[in-house]
Symmetry: C3
Subunit: 135 residues, 3 copies
Amino acid sequence: MAYQEFKLQVLTREKGCFVEITAEVNRILRERRWTKGLLNLLATHTTCGLTLNEHADPAVVKDLLGRLEEMIPTSRGADQHAEGNSAAHLKASFFGASLTLPVSNNSLELGTWAGVFVTEFDGPRTRTILLSFLH
Amino acid sequence: MAYQEFKLQVLTREKGCFVEITAEVNRILRERRWTKGLLNLLATHTTCGLTLNEHADPAVVKDLLGRLEEMIPTSRGADQHAEGNSAAHLKASFFGASLTLPVSNNSLELGTWAGVFVTEFDGPRTRTILLSFLH
Amino acid sequence: MAYQEFKLQVLTREKGCFVEITAEVNRILRERRWTKGLLNLLATHTTCGLTLNEHADPAVVKDLLGRLEEMIPTSRGADQHAEGNSAAHLKASFFGASLTLPVSNNSLELGTWAGVFVTEFDGPRTRTILLSFLH
């Protein structure tokens, strides 16, 4: 058994955006020779998350962000949290801050259309994604 | 340490449906002698997910599908993704494509009322669930 | 490789509430000398979940519970599940019953503002959280 960690910094450029990190994660797997095992990704924050979704057509992410704002509007009169970002906290929890994925042949085993995204709901910021590999 | 994988094919018969796979996953655990450890399940797709929920009363899944369609309607004028299935992408991300579960005595350690479901939002299709076992 | 388990009982005092368990999980990690590896947490139920979110300002959880009730109201005429708690089942699945987190130095590696919460949607109850540690 071996357990190793690596911190990835991700820059998000807008208030609400999805930033794909698939290629960067695969590069880290190759560089660190993390060949086969389970990779845990943790966004060490409470207003962004991690998700798998389509990375072929950017319109998918655009539609998702539009639908999310309609379902969970940024502004809500009854909110009491002084920072005014409770919507971002809820969106983050719906997507989840943590993701565990299978790795084989030095690479994430995703489907053809799937990519790993940092889901930013309170940017722009520099976000830390902790990668932990157990094999 | 051992890391092993197995691909499970699941047929979904409707556009929106939950297909329970608990018994099939437990059968695979027994056949492959995956006795004790962590099992990762990954739906290698972007319009279906995986979830734990009640498997005793089928009305629960029916209520969930009805509520989901009201919250995240299939049709939305502003959507730009040409395939017209952005709602399915959002539902899939809310449930998540990946699930990690404890295994002991050759069996998933779920609660009495819980089952593992593939949550289909853009079927009918044949879906691949990648099972990865670390022990 | 070692795989070990521990059951944590959590009392939830209201119908809808978030109960933070970060300190208790860290105490278990220290007592059992689970130093470094991956910790899986599973709520063995179908009307509560687990999530990471802000633990500094209690107003965040209050805002989340208020927004959730507006999005997924407890009562819905079309629901068929006789127990009348389909809303709780949906909320639980959105948050997810399972969480896998990295452990280093006998402690969960969360961000400064993040805590682990049991998300109760059909309390008050005593909930079982199964902790499984792989290292």
